[in-house]
């Protein structure tokens, strides 16, 4: 049941729980309890909204930053990752296999704000060896949802 609940609410966290229970063929109380348990266990960490900021009048710039760092003895990458994720403007921090170590995504009001963060705060950290900043120009698909195009039902309206 957990997997099915998670799959459903990952796509639609606002789903009516009574309705979800019907669709899964479960009792509503069981679904509610299961979700509460998963919240307590930290499996469900939050409920977010997918926003296409492009369509609003609010200016936002997002960037992905590749960071190469020197891992510290006894702590690996955890300490430096923590230093970085504590900045509120940072959205996510991932440890990455391959050509660099950490992938940091962040949002700012303007290009300048983002570049200031990188040059003033990120690059100056002791263990950071280098950074490469990629600004996101357009989001086609985010969290499994296509933002660029609207779904059109092209099927014949009636078929046997």
């Amino acid at each position: 049941m957990r997997e099915k609940i998670l799959k459903a609410i990952e796509k639609n966290s606002r789903i009516d729980l009574k309705e979800l229970a019907i669709m899964l063929g479960e009792e509503e109380i069981n679904v509610v309890n299961e979700i509460a348990a998963m919240e307590a266990e930290g499996i469900i960490c939050g409920y977010h909204t997918l926003i296409d900021w492009e369509k609003t009048s609010i200016e936002k710039v997002s960037a992905l930053i590749e960071v190469r760092v020197t891992p510290q003895r006894g702590q690996g990458f955890d300490t430096i990752a923590e230093r970085i994720y504590k900045y509120p403007e940072v959205n996510s921090v991932y440890l990455i296999s391959g050509g660099y170590d950490l992938l940091v995504s962040l949002e700012g009001k303007s290009l300048k704000e983002v570049s200031n963060f990188v040059s003033d705060k990120l690059s100056t950290l002791d263990t950071v060896l280098s950074t490469a900043t990629h600004f996101i120009l357009k989001k086609y698909k985010d969290h499994g949802t296509v933002l660029a195009k609207k779904y059109v039902d092209e099927r014949l309206k009636m078929t046997p």
Binding site: I22, K157, M158, P160
Partner: protein, 389 residues
């Protein structure tokens, strides 16, 4: 000028869905619950293989029976799902959709006057294809109280000494009914006693929600008597690719290949390459889509319960078949009024045989959000009708 038409073709009625289709197509703002195909796109990795085959220049005919690798994968699939071993070289034919397989099987097995038992409500092609193959359709109306399953008594009652073929189409379009293993087992002695052949149309086999689909070909003694018709349209959301297949005894398949060779040459090459990918790596897609259908099915059943609209619980395909007899209208009248007043298109049960009178076919090959809007309107409509009474 002489009449250019054959007598046979002019006796065949046009599909009952046609009339509604024309009305719905004119109504720009109508929403529809009338489609018989998945709302999902073909999974990308399958489409990608089709595209790749074109890039590689795989644009020629394949062998008449279909690509050997595809036939092998089809046999693997029936081995995996039903535990029945078919020979890809002699017992397998790749067709243009399941529809072609039905037509071929009937034309290769019927002599003039042979009777074909067609349990209804059912898909629209069995009856006309039987007539075109010089057979005599024997319509066997199934009952709501049996959840539209075929019982041994009903079968026995329809058999005459001229009966040659029984058509079994489960999971069923339009009712959503299934036949479980025990239901099928009860039919086998009768089929054997009267020496019948079975055309088992299993195009919806993957969309079974109660238990895994059991094919009658897997029951003892039935492989030799069964022509299995299946395809890629419903399970892999590949309707437009037009690809299906037939499995059966060499004696029959050999003749079907011959006819297919003259009539069709071979199924579309691009589709065949895509289908190999579907069978090899498509299991997860099928599971995911089936789960989505099942959730919608439960949602609809609950909505019917809440609006007090009688509907047996269907465990297959993507249709529900609620009963609207209480409103004192024919299915067609109901569907027409519903379309005019609420702008929602559903298919009257009678499009699938006379015994569909008093029922509607509602498809759930739509997103939950679309279903909610449409069912909301059905609720309003039903309440209005009840208030008028």
């Amino acid at each position: 000028m002489r009449n250019p038409l054959s007598n046979k073709i002019t006796t065949i009625k046009p599909s009952g869905i046609r009339k509604f289709f024309d009305i719905v197509s004119e109504m720009e703002d109508a929403i529809s619950l009338g489609v018989g195909e998945p709302d999902f796109d073909t999974p990308w990795h399958i489409r990608d293989e089709g595209i790749y085959s074109l890039e590689k220049g795989k644009t020629f005919y394949t062998s008449n029976a279909g690509l050997k690798e595809l036939r092998q994968e089809i046999c693997n699939y029936y081995g995996r799902k039903q535990g029945v071993v078919y020979n890809p070289m002699t017992e397998t034919l790749v067709t243009v959709g399941g529809s072609e397989g039905i037509d071929l099987a009937l034309r290769c097995m019927l002599n003039p006057g042979d009777e074909v038992i067609i349990p209804t409500p059912c898909y629209v092609s069995y009856e006309p294809c039987t007539v075109m193959a010089d057979g005599v359709p024997v319509i066997l109306p199934l009952k709501n109280e049996n959840q539209f399953r075929l019982t041994p008594e009903e079968l026995e009652g329809a058999i005459t000494e001229k009966t040659k073929i029984l058509i079994l189409a489960f999971p069923n379009n339009p009712t959503g009914a299934i036949m479980e293993k025990s239901d099928l087992e009860a039919l086998v002695p009768i089929i054997e006693k009267h020496d019948l052949m079975v055309i088992s149309d299993e195009i919806y086999s993957e969309l079974s929600y109660k238990s895994k689909h059991v094919s009658i070909c897997s029951l003892p003694g039935m492989k030799e008597r069964t022509i299995v018709i299946n395809g890629f349209s419903k399970a892999y959301a590949m309707t437009g690719w037009r690809l299906g297949y037939a499995l059966g005894p060499e004696l029959v398949i050999k003749q079907m290949i011959k006819l297919h060779q003259f009539a069709i040459m071979c199924a579309p090459t691009t589709s065949q390459y895509a289908a190999i990918e579907a069978l090899k790596n498509g299991d997860d897609d099928v599971v995911e889509m089936t789960e989505a259908y099942n959730q919608r099915r439960r949602f609809l059943m609950n909505e019917f319960k809440e609006m007090n609209l009688p509907c047996f619980e269907p465990f297959g395909a993507f249709y529900v078949f609620p009963c609207i007899k209480e409103f004192g209208m024919t299915s067609e009248e109901f569907a027409l009024k519903f379309l005019e007043e609420e702008k929602v298109a559903v298919v009257p049960g009678t499009a699938f045989g006379d015994c569909g009178e008093g029922f509607l076919r509602i498809s759930y090959a739509y997103s939950i959000d679309d279903l909610k809007v449409a069912i909301g309107r059905l609720k309003d409509f039903v309440e209005k009708l009840r208030a008028e009474k």
